[in-house]
């Protein structure tokens, strides 16, 4: 009885995921161009959030380096896809961006992942500032330019690449969570010393996961750069992209696999709607929503959903 409940639930989730995926994949057929562009932005936020959660969720290491990896992806795109003509095909550029972000994350991770708590958070944030300032210096004193223009890429192509990254990311996140690698990562978050003394190569697990999460941030940056068409270091390395993934993940709830996903989707949609409907009060309303979330939904949206669900079914599966 119990097993069949889980089995049917699994099927249910899989079916729902497929329906959403098909709905997204066919969006350009029935939706407006605006819908496609909006969905691209939402997918970008989801990718940033979920890839942040892959590492920081289980390990407990609060990374604020997201903007750095995202920005590196953006600049990779800007350099390899200038408006004067592409050096490589679009998809190759996205892969290169992911690879560069991975290498950067592994190097930085190997250096800094021995830092704990607030020190790690500050250092990773420092990375964002560092890369940005180096680029500004480079543009001022070496190339003598300010910013770069990026080749025009078809809106649908951008959307589909973003969707592709999203699908690969969700599969990766799922398998990491379910694998023994995921268990090792969780054990590090729970008690790193005990994990190390139980045979977990904690440094390697942390560095590799940090690298994997950076791949998707870099790839997402490379794609969104094609949408933005003009970028400079201030746009590409906007610190907001370090904080938003954290906020979105907490907004959605870190307890469940789908929490950050829902959080990022609603958050991004909310931001977009508020920005267009109330351009002057958008930040004010947005702030109120965030404060309300923290105060009344400490477990995020998913916490609220589970509470409601339990009440609905009369608390039968209170610990499910």
């Amino acid at each position: 009885m119990d097993m069949s409940f889980f089995k049917s639930r699994k099927l249910w989730v899989l079916g729902l995921a497929l329906i959403i995926l098909v709905g997204l994949a066919t969006l350009p057929l029935y939706g407006s161009l605006y819908m496609t562009i909006l969905m691209t932005a939402i997918l970008m936020y989801i990718i940033l959030t979920v890839s942040w959660v892959i590492f920081s969720g289980p390990s407990g290491y609060l990374s604020l380096a997201s903007a750095a990896f995202f920005g590196v992806g953006i600049y990779t795109s800007a350099i390899l896809l200038p408006n004067t003509g592409a050096v490589f095909p679009v998809i190759v550029v996205v892969l290169i961006a992911g690879a560069i972000s991975f290498v950067l994350a592994v190097l930085v991770g190997a250096l800094t992942l021995r830092l704990k708590g607030i020190y790690f958070a500050i250092f990773t944030f420092g990375l964002v500032v560092l890369v940005k300032e180096v680029l500004i210096f480079f543009e001022i004193s070496v190339t003598g330019t300010r910013g770069r223009f990026i080749m025009l890429v078809d809106t649908h192509t951008i959307f589909y690449i973003m969707l592709g990254i999203f699908v690969v990311l969700m599969l990766t996140a799922y398998f990491i969570r379910r694998s023994k690698f995921g268990l090792a990562l969780r054990s590090i978050g729970e008690n790193e010393e005990a994990a190390a003394h139980s045979g977990v190569n904690v440094t390697m697990v942390k560095v590799i996961t940090f690298g994997i999460s950076a791949v998707f941030m870099g790839a997402a940056g490379a794609v969104i750069a094609m949408r933005w068409t003009y970028i400079d270091p201030y746009i590409a390395f906007n610190p907001l992209f370090s904080f938003l993934p954290v906020l979105m993940a907490i907004f959605g709830g870190l307890g469940q696999f789908y929490g950050p996903l829902i959080g990022a989707a609603i958050f991004a949609y909310l931001e977009e709607t508020l920005l267009t409907k109330f351009p002057y009060y958008y930040m004010l309303i947005f702030g109120c929503v965030l404060v309300g979330t923290m105060l009344f939904m400490p477990m995020g949206l998913t916490g609220l959903i589970q509470k409601g669900w339990r009440r609905l079914i009369g608390g039968q599966h209170a610990d499910a």
């Binding site: 023994k180 268990l183 729970e190 008690n191 010393e193 994990a195 003394h197 139980s198 045979g199």
Partner: protein
């Protein structure tokens, strides 16, 4: 055969010698006890052996191979596991997975998740863990958390176990059970090196005992020799 050997092991914290010029050895298959007043350097010595610290000078050998300076996970995979004075478990992870982690990562060979889970369940039974195994470990009683910790250490297929005050905070009945468990662990072929404050327990289970005081070894020998040693009585009871 000597399972573990230390030669002039020394560790400083600032100017203070936490462990100073300590020589020791543990024979294969024995239960070796380490006692001493608070601050004597017992846990520091465990941290040096298990790789949490690197000795300033001196050599530690495990199964004849030098291990001082190796990372904890490497030492663990060589067959040495430990528990902690303050229980260190993965609180939000089910008890059985706490133990399975040891089986999955603590050995050089790769183990499937199903095998590791099965092994974890058997080991939890072995250590006398009698509550549902999928409860998150953080919600367990102290004695059961300690059982989980010991089972996790055993799951790494350890040949040697370092037990840091497993009996602290237990009721008399639980202490008796723990003493029994230590003997059963030895009977599985695992050499045991334990720190303990409960004198009755340590005198009852150990084959040999070493006494540390202010980081220095002041005595070693059989429980009989230790309990009649003048120096030891002085340290514990005052002159």
């Amino acid at each position: 055969m000597r399972m573990l050997e230390g030669e002039k092991v020394t560790k400083y914290f600032g100017g203070l010698a936490a462990v100073s010029q300590v020589d020791f050895y543990v024979e294969q298959g024995e239960i070796f006890g380490l006692i001493g007043p608070n601050g004597a350097g017992k846990t520091t010595l465990f941290n040096l052996i298990s790789g949490a610290f690197t000795p300033k000078s001196g050599v530690i050998k495990f199964k004849g191979k030098r291990i001082s300076g190796l990372k904890p996970y490497k030492i663990c995979r060589m067959g040495m596991a430990r528990t902690f004075q303050e229980v260190k478990i993965f609180g939000n992870v089910p008890a059985v997975q706490n133990v399975a982690l040891g089986a999955l990562f603590g050995t050089p060979k790769s183990v499937s998740t199903a095998e590791a889970t099965k092994e974890a369940e058997e080991l939890l039974d072995f250590v006398g863990f009698a509550v549902p195994k999928n409860i998150p470990a953080g919600g367990l009683t102290l004695v059961n958390q300690k059982r989980v910790e010991i089972a996790r250490a055993l799951a790494t297929k350890a040949d040697m176990l370092l037990l840091d005050e497993v009996m602290a905070g237990l009721t008399p009945t639980e202490t008796a059970e723990a003493m029994e468990l230590v003997k059963r662990i030895r009977d599985r072929g695992v050499t045991v090196f334990l720190i303990e404050h409960v004198m009755r327990a340590i005198m009852g289970v150990c084959d040999r005992i070493m006494v540390l005081h202010h980081g220095e070894k002041i005595a070693d020998g059989t429980p009989q020799e230790i309990s009649t040693s003048k120096k030891v009585i002085e340290v514990y009871l005052g002159e």
